[in-house]
C-alpha cells in the first residue's frame, strides 16, 4: 500500500491518512484480512507523529474498516461494505463526469470548475464540522 500525505494541506494528517486507507480499500489495494503496518513502522515510513497513525487507526476501527487485535496489530475488515462503496463511487464518478461535461458546454474552464468544486467541498466540510 502506497500512501502520500501533504503536510501543507488544510486538513489534519490523520484525516488524509484515513482517506488514503479508505481509498486503498475501495480500489482493492488493501484486501480483506490484510495486516496494516504497525504504528511505529508507518510513522517512520511516512515521517509523521505516531499519534497521527494511532488516531487514524482508531477512527477507522470506529468506522469498522479495520480491526485492532490486541498484541498483533491492525487488520482490514472490508467485506460487503467495500463492495457497496465501490459501486457507489463508480456511480458518483459517472455523475460528476456528466456534470463537468455540462459545465464545459456552458463555457467554464477546467480551472474554474476545479475551484468551484474545491470551494463547495471545503464549505460543506466546514458546515459539517460545525454541526
Amino acid at each position: 500500500m502506497f500512501l502520500k500525505l501533504n503536510s501543507n494541506a488544510g486538513q489534519p494528517i490523520y484525516l488524509q491518512l484515513m482517506e488514503q486507507i479508505r481509498h486503498a480499500a475501495e480500489t482493492g489495494a488493501l484486501k480483506d484480512g490484510e495486516q496494516l503496518p504497525s504504528v511505529r513502522n508507518l510513522a517512520e515510513e511516512l515521517v509523521v507523529s505516531p499519534n497521527t497513525v494511532v488516531k487514524a487507526y482508531s477512527e477507522l476501527e470506529h468506522e469498522g474498516l479495520i480491526e485492532l487485535r490486541h498484541g498483533s496489530g491492525a487488520f482490514a475488515t472490508l467485506r460487503r461494505r467495500t463492495r457497496f462503496l465501490t459501486d457507489h463511487v463508480q456511480a458518483a464518478r459517472r455523475r460528476i463526469r456528466d456534470l463537468i461535461e455540462r459545465l464545459r458546454e456552458d463555457g467554464l474552464l477546467d480551472e474554474e470548475i476545479r475551484r468551484a468544486f474545491e470551494a463547495e467541498l471545503l464549505h460543506a466540510a466546514e458546515t459539517a464540522a460545525k454541526r
Binding site: N8, G10, P12, Y14, R40, V47, V48, P50, T52, L122
Partner: protein, 297 residues
Amino acid sequence: MIGGPVIQTRSLTKSYGRLNAVRDLDLFVGANRITAFLGRNGAGKSTTIKLLLGMIYPTGGEATVLGARVAESKESREMRRRVAYVAENKPLYPYMTPAQMIRFVSSFYPDWRSDAAERLMKEYELPADRKVKSLSKGMRTKLALLLAFARRPDLLILDEPSEGLDPVGIEQLLQTLVAQSAEGISVFFSSHQITEVERIADHVCILDKGRLLVDASLDDLRQSYRRIDLVFRSAPVEHEFRMTGVERIETSGHQMRVLASRNAEMVVERAHALNAVSVETSPVGLRDIFLETVRDN
C-alpha cells in the same frame, strides 16, 4: 507522568537589564507527544529551554519539568537524569573520537542502549575513530543526537536539532524523533524550520519576542485556519466581517480577503448574505499562520 504535563511553566520571565528575553510564559507540554517550539531567531526559545533545565535562573515565575520544580536543586538534579538535552551549539569534547565519546557518556547512564547507539552510528555514517574536532558540523550534530537518543530518556529536549544538517540528515533526524516518540518518549524541540514542524509535530507553540502567541494542536490549526477571498458588486464594508476568529481583513476595490483562525463558515455565510459574487475558501499553511501571528506581534 502519564496524562500530566512533562513541562509546565507559570509566568516564567527572564530579563537581561531592560530586555525581556522571556515574558510571562505559561507553557504546558503534554506527555507522549511531539511538541514543536517555533519562533524566529532571538524569539527566546533557547532562553526558555535553558530556564527549563536550570542552566540559568528566571527573573520571575516558575517551571516544573517531569513534575520536578526546576528551582529546587535536588528535584532538578533528579529530573535532569531523565531528560536528554541536545544544545544548539552541540558541545562535545573535541579531542575525543565518537567511539570514545560514546564510551564516556554511556558510563553515566544505566539505561544506555548500546544497540541503538550502534545502529545510529551506522545509519548516520559516523566515523568511529576520527577526532570530534575534525568532524563536519553535520557529523557533530549527528553525534550529539546519537548520545541523546541512546540514553532512553523520558523527555527529549532539542534546541534547533536540524541546524547544520543536510536534507538527508534532516530526514534521518525526523525519522529518529518519530521512532523515539513511538517508544513513549515525549519530545520537545525548538525550530524555525516550518516544514519539519509541519510534518512531525502533534502540537505547536509559537514564541515571538519572549511571548507565547500560539499554543495549539496542529490538527486544530489545519482544520480551523482559512483564507476567504470574496468579490462583491460594490466596495465591501470591512466592519461587516469583524467577528470572533477573524484575524485580518484586507480590501482592494470590490475584493476582500479575510483570514480567519476559526468560524470561517460564519464569514462565508455573511458573504452570501451580502450577495457576494464570488466566495472562495482556501486552507492556510503553518508558514502563513506563523508569519501572520509574528507580524501582528
